[in-house]
Symmetry: C2
Subunit: 337 residues, 2 copies
DNA sequence: ATGAAAGCGCTAACAT
DNA sequence: ATGTTAGCGCTTTCAT
C-alpha cells in the first residue's frame, strides 16, 4: 500500500508538508502544493483512515443499530441517517439487532472497539443501558431509553390527529388496532387514540377496552384485529397503529362485504410508500423521518462538543388524508335517533 | 480511553502478554491469563480496532454500496450481507449510491481510505471501473461489471420459468412489462420472456414488439404498461419484470373490469413480502438473496486468499405460484376456432 | 512462558 | 514556509 511517505518522496517534500497539503493547511506554497497533489494523483494515493483516526482520535464514522433494515420505516431511517452522515463527512456502520438484546450488545461492543464518533440506536425492548459505549456520544431514536437523549416522532399527537380526523367525520364508535405493549411507540399511539375516543363513547357503546385489539404491527394482526372488532363491536371506523395493520384491515373489511370508506373508515400510521398504492388510498400519519435523522446526527455533534443532553425531542407527524376515511354512516354515526 | 498498556499494568504483566491473551495465544499460563482477563473486565477495556487494523493490515470491515436500501430487494440484500459479514466477524459500512456514479465514486474513495477488507457493490448503470479499489477484493452483485467477479440471480432463467408457467396454463398471447433498458437485469428478464413467447405467437397475433412495454420497475409503470397492453393487443396474461409492476397491473386490470386470474393472469418478479398480501396472491419469481449474499462474501475471502476470479456466478431463482395466474380463457387461449 | 522494542501511517508540536 | 520527530495503540519478532 502506498503511504504518505511515498507521496512525500515523489514530490520531494517532507511528510509534514505532504500531510499539510492533505489537510488543506494554507501555509504550504503553491509550488509545493502542486507537486504534492501531482504525486498523489500519480500514485493513486488514498490516505489511511486508520492511521489518521488513531492519531487524531476521531474516525468520522457513525454507528447505526436498528432492528431490521428490511422494515420500511427503519429502511428509510437508515437511508436518512446515511445522508445526514454524508453531509458531515462520516461513514456509517450498520448493524441489525433483530430486536434481540444479545445481538445488539455484540454490535455495540464492535462499534466501541472501532471508536465510532457517535451512535444512533433504536434499542430493543430489553435494552436498559449502553454499557460499552459510556463515553461515546449516543442518541436513541424512535424508542426512549432512560438516561440517553432521544429523538422521535410525537406518536401520541400523531395518533390523536388521525383519530380526531375520524371524529370530525362524524365517527364515534372507533376501533383501534394497537401494537405490542412492550413497545413505547405502540403504547403512545394507543394512548393518543384513547384520549380522543374515551370521552365520546357513551355507556351503551360498552367499555373502550372492547374497542382495542392488541397485536403486532404486521399485516396479519391488522386482518385479525379488524375481523374481531368488526364482529364484536361494529365500529364505523378503525385506527390502525401501522399501515401494515391498516392494509390487513382493508382486506378484512372486503372479506366481510364492507365498503371502505362508505361502511368503514380506516386510518393507518407510518405512510409507507405502499399506503398510496392500495385501494382506496390510505389515510395515514407520516413520520418526519428525515428530520429525525438530521436531528439525531446533529445531537451527536452537540454532545461531543460537551453539551450535556438527556432530553427527549418530539417531532411532529403529519396527517395524510386519503380515500380510506369518509363520513360516518348515517344510521350508526348519528347520536341516538 | 483505556489502552492495553493500562490493562497490562493493572494485571502486572507486559503488554505483549496482555496482547497474547487478547488474541488467544495458547502459550500464556492460566494464572496470568486470568489476571489479564480480570483487568480487562475491571477497566471495561475495548481493544482499539484502529490500532489493530493499522498493525495487522486488516480491518474486518466490508463495504457495501447499493443504489437504495429503501428498495425492498436491496434492503433484503443489505440485511443478508450483514448476516454473512457477522458470520466471519466483519462489520459493514453501508453506502447508498442513489444510482449516481458520482455518489458511488465518493463512497468507494472513502472505503478505500478505510482499508476495507472487501467490497460488495451493486454498480450504477454508468459504472465502468472500480479505480480506487484496484487492490481490494471486490464483488459485484445483481448487475455485471466487466473485469470483476459477479454473483447474481439467473434472471433470464427465472423469467423463462414464469413465462413457461403461463404457457403451460394455455396462454399464448402473453404481454411483458419490461424494466429500463440500461439495466442488464431488465434486459435479461425481457430476453427470457422473448425466448419463450416468440415462437408461440402466430402471424395474426402481430409482432412480439407490440406485446412488450418498456418502463421503470415501479408501480406506476406497471399500471401504465398494463393499461396500454390490455387496450392494444389484449393479452390473456402479463409477465411483469417486478412485483411493483405486477401490482400496478393488477390495479389496471381491476380498472378495466377484468378479473384476475379468470380474464387475465399476472406474474411478477422478486417475491417482495407484499406480493403475498395483494389479492389475488401473486405468482412471482423469488431471487435467492441470502445465497447471493453468502456467495459474494465467500468470494471476497477467496479473492483475498489469492484466487483470481473473473467469473459470473448465476444462482437459480424459484417460481412461487400464487393465485394471480390461472388457465387461459377458452375463447382466447384455444388456437383458431 | 514472558518481556522489550520496533513499526504500522499518520498528525502536530517544535525546530529551523 | 518547510523539515524533523514523537507518539496514537496495537502485534510481533527477538531476547531472555
Amino acid at each position: 500500500m502506498t503511504s504518505i511517505i511515498d507521496v512525500a518522496r515523489k514530490a520531494r517534500v517532507s511528510v509534514g508538508t505532504a500531510s499539510n497539503v492533505l489537510n488543506g493547511d494554507p501555509r504550504v506554497g503553491r509550488e509545493l502544493r502542486k507537486r504534492v497533489l501531482a504525486a498523489i494523483k500519480a500514485l493513486n494515493y488514498a490516505p489511511n483512515a486508520l492511521a489518521r483516526g488513531l492519531r487524531i482520535q476521531r474516525t468520522h464514522t457513525l454507528g447505526l443499530v436498528i432492528p431490521d433494515v428490511t422494515n420500511p420505516f427503519f429502511g428509510e431511517l437508515a437511508k436518512r441517517v446515511g445522508e445526514a452522515a454524508d453531509a458531515i463527512g462520516c461513514s456509517v456502520i450498520l448493524g441489525n439487532s433483530d430486536d434481540r438484546r444479545a445481538v445488539e450488545a455484540t454490535h455495540l461492543q464492535m462499534l466501541a472497539s472501532r471508536r465510532i464518533d457517535g451512535l444512533v440506536l433504536v434499542p430493543t425492548p430489553e435494552t436498559r443501558d449502553l454499557e460499552p459505549l459510556r463515553n461515546i456520544p449516543s442518541v436513541v431514536i424512535d424508542r426512549p431509553l432512560r438516561g440517553w437523549p432521544s429523538v422521535a416522532t410525537d406518536h401520541r399527537a400523531g395518533a390523536k390527529a388521525a383519530v380526531q380526523h375520524l371524529v370530525d367525520l362524524g365517527h364515534r364508535r372507533i376501533g383501534c388496532i394497537a401494537g405490542p405493549n412492550d413497545l413505547a411507540v405502540a403504547r403512545e399511539r394507543q394512548k393518543g387514540y384513547r384520549l380522543i375516543v374515551e370521552e365520546r363513547l357513551s355507556a351503551k357503546d360498552g367499555p373502550i377496552a372492547d374497542y382495542v385489539f392488541v397485536g403486532r404491527f404486521d399485516y396479519d394482526s391488522g386482518y385479525e384485529g379488524a375481523m374481531q372488532l368488526l364482529q364484536r363491536v361494529r365500529p364505523t371506523a378503525i385506527f390502525a397503529s401501522s399501515d401494515q395493520q391498516a392494509i390487513g384491515a382493508l382486506r378484512a373489511a372486503a372479506d366481510l362485504g364492507l365498503r371502505v370508506p362508505e361502511d368503514l373508515s380506516v386510518a393507518g400510521f407510518d405512510a409507507i410508500p405502499l399506503a398510496q398504492h392500495v385501494t382506496p388510498r390510505l389515510t395515514t400519519v407520516a413520520q418526519p423521518i428525515a428530520a429525525i435523522a438530521e436531528k439525531a446526527v446533529w445531537l451527536l455533534g452537540a454532545v461531543r462538543d460537551g453539551a450535556k443532553f438527556d432530553m427527549r425531542y418530539k417531532l411532529d407527524a403529519t396527517l395524510q388524508i386519503g380515500k380510506s376515511t369518509g363520513p360516518a354512516p348515517r344510521d350508526a354515526g348519528a347520536d341516538r335517533r
